[in-house]
């Protein structure tokens, strides 16, 4: 199920007020900044209901004041940028924007993990799967390079990347060789 790598480990009391957004755990497209998100979102869950890929799920009570807000754990299921959620949000917490305007996060290649950057293999999974191929991810001397100007942060590359910190194709990785970081 949605056992995403969030809420893991012990949480301090202040964790109830700290934003749950971190590496590979991101807001849906068009989200307002985290400073506004908790107050603007009414936890109606319509984005969760409309998402055809079940990428979005609501946070539970462990997230304190963020409980009920939508989140996408891109390592489990990334965002496929269908843009249905931004159309149904009644509060403007997810603003109605175009597909190429999405800036959920920013993909960053871990050059110490990536087999291509390490020179061990010629993998270009992230490049092949990127919906904005040659713009968001291009190949520089056959190695993947992310262009922050075009990267939507959808996390499709993170989901597809076979290389993890626990080894190739490990089942419970904490990160991949390419990861989505929050933009702000």
């Amino acid at each position: 199920m949605s056992e995403a790598p969030i809420n893991s480990g012990r949480r301090h009391f202040l964790g109830l007020f700290r934003s749950p957004v971190h590496e590979n755990v991101l807001r849906p497209p068009g989200a307002v900044g985290e400073d506004l998100f908790a107050s603007k979102c009414i936890r109606c869950g319509r984005c969760v209901e409309v998402c055809p890929y079940k990428s979005i799920f609501p946070l539970d009570v462990h997230s304190g004041i963020w409980a009920g807000t939508p989140i996408i754990a891109v390592m489990t299921i990334p965002c496929y940028l269908c843009m249905k959620c931004v159309e149904v949000c009644p509060t403007g917490t997810l603003r109605p924007i175009q597909q190429d305007e999405v800036r959920m996060g920013l993909a960053v290649v871990d050059r110490y993990l990536c087999v291509t950057w390490r020179g061990e293999a010629l993998c270009r999974t992230c490049y092949n799967i990127c919906p904005f191929k040659d713009k968001a991810i291009r190949l520089d001397e056959l190695r993947p390079v992310v262009d922050p100007k075009h990267c939507t942060g959808c996390g499709i590359c993170v989901h597809a990347c076979p290389m993890t910190d626990k080894g190739l194709g490990a089942s419970n990785p904490t990160k991949k060789a390419i990861n989505c970081l929050p933009r702000s």
Binding site: I42, C44, V88, P90
Partner: protein
């Protein structure tokens, strides 16, 4: 039993919408109707619960056009008809009445008794307290726990994520209080959404009015009122009345009736001035 039958049909249909719709959306990608009674989208018609919308505006200090438009319909409904959402639509009402129906064979009484009665104005403090608390915490956190929305969210979670959220315990507590302590205990005294709708509907057009000349003071209406009001003493005109029509149905002399008061009869203020 005309009004209570109509009302039960409306309640059942409203509940069926949020019960069946998640299945349609999940398995058939129907998606014509989305959400539940926090925010309901029927095609391009958006309905947003006024309390949720108000908190979102107050807390984020931003205004979003579609949100205001979504709040318009429930606000107009409350201004004209009062707290009818609570008695005619709210899933908590449906579940409470369902429990009543199940409970009835086990009790010999015609009416259920209220074990604990609190001052009616507590509901105003529930509304104020809720908004203040939300402002202090900085998140419309209470709407997350608000029972009318919670029922819908739990159904959606069960269908979509095959799990139930722990906050659903609030619904069980609310229904338990209704069943064991006082009818509609939460709705009467502690529901912030009910408080807001009651405030909006305090100068409502549709009211239950009493024909004092024909009243024989039998007191059946007082016993029938799920809100613990005394329609026999004219308390149906209070903001706390939610126009469910139980008293109208129970009056043996039919001296209680719904009345739509025109602009001339409504008190000095127009409803808009009281916002």
């Amino acid at each position: 039993m005309k009004w209570s039958f109509l009302r039960r049909v409306t309640l059942s249909v409203s509940f069926l919408v949020i019960l069946v719709n998640p299945f349609l959306n999940f398995y058939l990608h129907f998606n014509f109707i989305q959400g539940w009674y926090q925010s309901l989208g029927i095609g391009n018609l958006w309905i947003v619960s006024p309390l949720e919308g108000l908190e979102s505006i107050l807390l984020s200090k931003t205004i979003y056009g579609p949100l205001l438009i979504g709040m318009l319909l429930p606000i107009i409904l409350a201004l004209l008809l009062g707290r009818v959402f609570c008695s005619w639509i709210c899933p908590i009402s449906f579940l409470s009445e369902l429990l009543d129906t199940l409970k009835r064979p086990f009790t010999k009484r015609r009416f259920f008794k209220d074990l604990l009665r609190l001052p009616k104005w507590l509901i105003w403090w529930a509304l104020i307290g809720d908004i203040l608390l939300a402002l202090i915490v900085g998140a419309p956190f209470f709407v997350f726990l608000s029972p009318p929305g919670l029922v819908g969210r739990e159904i959606m979670m069960a269908v979509f994520l095959h799990t139930l959220a722990i906050e659903g315990i609030v619904v069980i507590v609310v229904l338990g209080l209704h069943l064991l302590v006082t009818r509609r205990f939460f709705c009467r005294y502690f529901c912030p959404l009910g408080g807001l709708l009651a405030l909006l509907g305090s100068k409502r057009r549709l009211q239950v009015v009493l024909d004092r000349e024909r009243c024989v003071a039998c007191g059946l209406c007082n016993k029938a009122c799920p809100m613990g009001l005394r329609p026999q003493d004219g308390e149906a005109a209070l903001p706390f009345c939610w126009n469910c029509g139980e008293c109208v149905d129970h009056c043996p002399e039919s001296c209680l009736s719904y009345k739509w008061s025109g602009a001339d009869q409504v008190a000095v203020h127009s409803p808009e001035e009281n916002l």
